[in-house]
Amino acid sequence: MAKHHVTTTINGDPVEFLCAPEQTLLDVLRDVLYLTGSKEGCASGDCGACSVMLDGRLVCACLVLGVEAQGCSVETIEGMAHGDELHPLQRKFLEHAALQCGVCTPGFLVAAKALLERNPEPTETEVRYWLAGNLCRCTGYDKIVRAVLDAAAEMRES
C-alpha cells in the first residue's frame, strides 16, 4: 500500500514525513525521524515509555498511527528543554536521583509535565495515579514522585 504524506508540527517545528498506514507514530518518531528519545517498552500502551503530547493530550505514541498525526502538534522529550536550560522537572529528576537506568525517564518526564500543566499542586496520590501508566522497574517510584512534587513546588514559586 502506498505511503501517506503527513504534515505535522513536532516540538514547534513543521515536519513532513511519509509513512505506511500501519506504522505507529512511535515507529515514525524513532525510525523515520530518528527522534529516539521516546522508547518502545511494550508497543501496547502498558508501559508509557513512548509518552508524547498530541495536540495537548498525553498519549502513548505506540497507540497512535503515524497518519493520525496529520495536522497535529506533537511534543516529545526532545522538545522539553529550552536551549541549554532544562525544564524544572528534568532538573529535579537529576537532583533527586529519580532515574537509574533511565529508559523510562523520557516517558515519565513528558507525563509529569502534562500533569503539572493541568494541576500545578498535585498531591502525592494524584501524582501516583497520573503516572500509573508509566512503568519503572528500577526506582520503586519513590524518588520519581518526590522529584515531581518538588518540581511542582518550585514551578509554583516562580
Binding site: 500500500m1 498506514p21 501496547s44 500502551g45 498519549v59 497512535v64 498511527l65 495515579y129 501508566g133
Partner: protein, 286 residues
C-alpha cells in the same frame, strides 16, 4: 492496509459498505492498534471516525447528554455537567487504562471492542444509555445492553458503526456508581466490574434501579433481579444482601488468567453491595 479519515457519517458508511467487512473502524485505537500489532486483525482498510465532528461532540440539553462515540475519555471526563449528572459513568470511563490511554480511548471503542470486561459498559448499562448506530439503511437507536453479543462480537450489522450515546438527565434523588476489582490499583483489566444506578423517592425508598455487571459472563450483563432487590427497599443491609446474592447468582464466569469462577461470583456480590452504597449516598445527597 489503507487508512481513510472521512469527514461525515455518510462517507464513513459508504467506505465501510464498499469494503464489505474488510474495513475496520478506528476510534481511539487503544484496542485496535494492539490487535494490529499482534496480527490478530488484518483489515484492508482502517476508517478513522475521529474526523467526523459529530462523533467527537459532547452535548447536553434539558433532556440529557449526547456523547459522540469517538470522544476521548479524557474529554468526557472534563465535561462538568456530565460528571455532576452521572458520576458513576464518568468514574467508570476514567478507569479505562492509564492517563495516556484516557487521551485516546473512546466510549464507542470500549463498547464495540466487545470485551466482557470493558469498564464503561456496566456503568452505562446501569445508567440506561442508548446507542445510536449508523449504517447503509440509516440510523437506529439501541439500548446499550443489546450491542455486545459475545466476546469480540456485537449486534452491529455489516457496514454499521456506532455514532454516539444518549444518557437521560438523571431523575431527582438519583445516584450511580461503578466499582471494579483489579489486582493492582491501575492498568489492569477488570476481574469484576459493577455499575449501579438508583433513584429514591422523597421518603428514601428506592423506586428505580439498574445494575450492570462486567467480566462475569461472555457479555456485560443487565441484571434485573439485582435491581429488583433494591426497588421498594431503603437500600438497607437486607436489600443489599439480596442485591449481592442476585449479582452473584447472575454470574456465568470462566476461570482465566485474571480470576477464578468462585472469585468472580463472590466479588460481584461484594462490589454490587459497595457500589449500591455509594450510589445511595449520591442519591441521598441530591
Amino acid at each position: 492496509m489503507d487508512y481513510r479519515s472521512p469527514s461525515s457519517v455518510k462517507k464513513a458508511v459508504d467506505l465501510l459498505a464498499a469494503h464489505d467487512g474488510a474495513a475496520h473502524v478506528l476510534a481511539g485505537g487503544t484496542d485496535l492498534l494492539v490487535k494490529l500489532r499482534a496480527g490478530f486483525v488484518e483489515p484492508k482498510l482502517v476508517v478513522d471516525v475521529k474526523g467526523i465532528a459529530q462523533l467527537r461532540a459532547i452535548e447536553s440539553d434539558a433532556r440529557g447528554f449526547r456523547i459522540g462515540a469517538a470522544a476521548s475519555c479524557a474529554e468526557i471526563g472534563e465535561h462538568a455537567a456530565l460528571v455532576a449528572a452521572w458520576p458513576g459513568v464518568v468514574e467508570a470511563l476514567r478507569l479505562i487504562g492509564s492517563t495516556q490511554i484516557q487521551g485516546r480511548a473512546t466510549l464507542g471503542g470500549n463498547l464495540c471492542n466487545a470485551s466482557p470486561a470493558a469498564d464503561s459498559v456496566p456503568a452505562l448499562i446501569a445508567a440506561g444509555a442508548l446507542c445510536r448506530v449508523a449504517g447503509p439503511s440509516g440510523e437506529r437507536e439501541v439500548p446499550i445492553e443489546r450491542i455486545v453479543t459475545g466476546p469480540g462480537r456485537t449486534s452491529l450489522a455489516r457496514g454499521e458503526f456506532l455514532v454516539g450515546f444518549r444518557l437521560e438527565k438523571p431523575r431527582p434523588r438519583s445516584g450511580d456508581a461503578y466499582l471494579r476489582l483489579i489486582p493492582r490499583t491501575e492498568m489492569d483489566i477488570a476481574v469484576v466490574g459493577v455499575g449501579v444506578a438508583l433513584t429514591l423517592d422523597a421518603a428514601g425508598v428506592c423506586t428505580h434501579a439498574r445494575v450492570g455487571l462486567g467480566a462475569v459472563a461472555p457479555t456485560p450483563l443487565l441484571v434485573a433481579e439485582a435491581a429488583r432487590a433494591l426497588i421498594g427497599s431503603r437500600v438497607d443491609d437486607k436489600a443489599l444482601a439480596a442485591l449481592a446474592a442476585a449479582a452473584s447468582a447472575a454470574c456465568k464466569p470462566i476461570d482465566d488468567k485474571r480470576g477464578t469462577i468462585a472469585y468472580r461470583v463472590k466479588v460481584a456480590g461484594v462490589l454490587a453491595r459497595r457500589a449500591a452504597r455509594i450510589a445511595l449516598a449520591r442519591a441521598a445527597g441530591r
